[in-house]
Symmetry: C2
Subunit: 364 residues, 2 copies
DNA sequence: TACTGGCACTCTCGCCTTCTGAGTGCTAAT
DNA sequence: ATTAGCACTCAGAAGGCGAGAGTGCCAGTA
């Protein structure tokens, strides 16, 4: 059956009322809240039809109506207005983001916190690096039994490790090793590094003490780490303020689900960059989330990595507001991480300018 | 008034029963649970006196008794048996710890998770580095506008940063800069680096493009980061399973308190290494924790840093079990982090051996 | 004197009943 | 097509009741 314009208006009104109050909404409430000039009886009839069509549920005979997941879906697809952030909100975001350019997981955690405090829902932030290879090796000779191994990766990050050796090495060996690793161990992925490669490298530079395998272990470790994504949950406790999670068992179920980063890394990875994806109730694959909704924004950090930042809440969620905030944060992240990292003597200032620019662009 | 031996026994029985059941315990229950051969009436009289002395509380006239914080304090000080971990438990811990030697905050997070899953309470792990200075600079020339800055710190960690320069540099300059920084910027703390130092370094090596200040910014940043502690909360959701936190408002209060790392870093920093500290209810300074208890173990990672790992729960907490587990983890951490880091081709094996050693030592 | 059995008393908790009111569906009137 | 009106339903609050757990105290016993 077709859904008339008027029905849509009523449905939107019901959804918005329910989002605001978390209580079943009755026909009288809608009639009186203005917007539509109809009597409660008319609205009642329409609501009865909407119920028949599966857009509204009735907790019991004499209660008001509650939107079904199907209704929310229609709402986010068609009905909901794309909300603009107010200047104040934008500036609040800018203010909290402007001093952050740092290690990846610290950044993730800060971004998660920001998203959570803005939306008042638990937020997850994750970053999944795209496969990287080592593009350059350096070995810094510190003293006879200390060297620093430095590996620069194809994604323009640099990893290092301090190696305290239980034996002495001479600078010549270290140099030979560095050049051997630079020729043989660059531009290959972790699983391509075989024991035989290592032992032939060992021969090539006359290493009798096993330093080669130490360096190789470092290389493998580095590549492995680079593949690992970072996942962070922030503001989990916000969930407890939502009426639908006042039941501690429900809350526990979700919170413990979220606290396992395995689960987070499995969050949907499709969709386009800088766009918002909403998963409503049963649309979630994880059964723990079947009663909740997830709003996800994807960002793209150049070729290095991609990530998502999302928010978890009840199906009765302020989709419009959350989407606007996440969209803004995600586009901000795309810029920050996507652009080649320029050296900064005065980091704060530079980033500040950038975000102001963006804000103005957005307006045009 | 003196507290007799028998009272202590009864008190311990009450506390243990309450820890196990979370319900007010009555005289009859104690009488029947064996251990003491006394009638319920006698126990009743003793309990009445314990109540008068402030060790027990009565929710209402006809309910059983509940231990007061004072009782718990006596319990942890005198009554509680120092629990040994079973072989199975030790091995479970070893198993989950043996594959971890990695970046600090990742390690913290893993340790927190471990503590939390062992104790079934939320756990906090924090590490506070002791002030460090840079002990060695290296600049790796990658190409005309890319260099990698590497700084080795006095605490034997190494930091690096990839610098993409908006101008071209020649290798000579880079070398000169490295040596200038090595002589002037090592072994000093962050606040000792002044703009005039930077400009004189700039002159010294004939830098006309501002590369010096970029490197200096890196140095400052590195020192600043090295000072920062890492704080992590894990398993927060476990709290919701405790009957005393089934009230979502209470749970929310504590969880949001814990999720702010500012608060965590303020956790008590006194006490001796490898020993356990217990803060019961009102002994906590933070008012959010006045109804909860915190068990803290301190570990010492050589000269580099010290940290604590703790567990938060209701005052009715399995102090003995938690203490035993934390003590074990802390001593493990002290060893892992305290010893100079040896290079490891076969990391897992080495660590595995170490923990087995410890376990055996502990037994003797 | 120290312990115990017994007993009356208190108070929470769970259960049942009743009552209220919000909200509905339907019908008849506009 | 819309609306006013009305009977109906049902969840949840309010009140009353009884059961049971636990206490305090007293008198009796070893």
């Amino acid at each position: 059956m077709e859904i008339s314009e008027r029905k849509k208006k009523i449905l939107a009104a019901v959804i918005e009322a329910y989002i605001a109050t978390a209580e079943p909404v009755g026909s009288k409430y809608i009639a009186e809240s203005g917007g539509l000039d109809l009597s409660s009886a008319t609205i009642r009839n329409e609501m009865a039809e909407l119920t028949a069509m599966g857009y509204l549920d009735q907790p019991h005979t004499s209660a008001g109506r509650v939107p079904s997941p199907k209704a929310y879906r229609l709402y986010v697809n068609e009905l909901m207005e794309r909300q603009r952030l107010s200047i104040e909100e934008t500036e609040a975001i800018n203010r909290s983001l402007c001093l952050k350019m740092q290690q990846l997981d610290k950044l993730m955690s800060d971004v998660g916190k920001l998203a959570s405090s803005l939306t008042q829902y638990p937020a997850v932030a994750l970053a999944a690096p795209i496969a990287a290879t080592i593009s350059r090796f350096d070995l810094i000779y510190v003293d006879v039994n200390t060297i620093i191994a430095v590996a620069m990766l194809s994604n323009n990050t640099v990893h290092n490790k301090l190696l305290n050796l239980p034996f002495s090495v001479d600078q010549g060996l270290v140099q030979r090793l560095a050049s051997v690793f630079n020729t043989n161990f660059t531009d290959i992925s972790e699983d391509k590094i075989t024991p035989s490669m290592i032992s032939s490298a060992e021969c090539a530079c006359g290493d009798t003490m096993g330093l080669t395998s130490v360096i190789a272990a470092f290389a493998i470790d580095t590549l492995r780490k680079a593949k690992e994504g970072a996942a962070v949950v922030a503001g989990a406790s916000h969930l407890l303020r939502q009426p639908e999670f006042r039941d501690p068992d429900k809350a526990h179920e979700i919170l413990s689900y979220l606290s396992d980063s395995e689960h987070l890394l499995g969050l949907p990875d499709v969709g386009e960059d800088d766009d918002i994806q909403v998963l409503i109730g049963p649309e979630n694959v994880a059964k723990e989330l079947k009663d909740s909704s997830v709003v996800i924004a994807r960002y793209n950090a150049g070729d290095n990595m991609r990530g998502i930042i999302g928010v978890v809440g009840p199906t009765r969620m302020d989709y419009s507001g959350v989407a606007a905030k996440l969209r803004y944060i995600a586009s901000w992240l795309s810029r920050l991480l996507g652009m080649p990292e320029a050296p900064r003597g005065f980091e704060k200032l530079q980033i500040k300018e950038m975000t102001i620019d963006e804000h103005q662009e957005d307006k045009n």
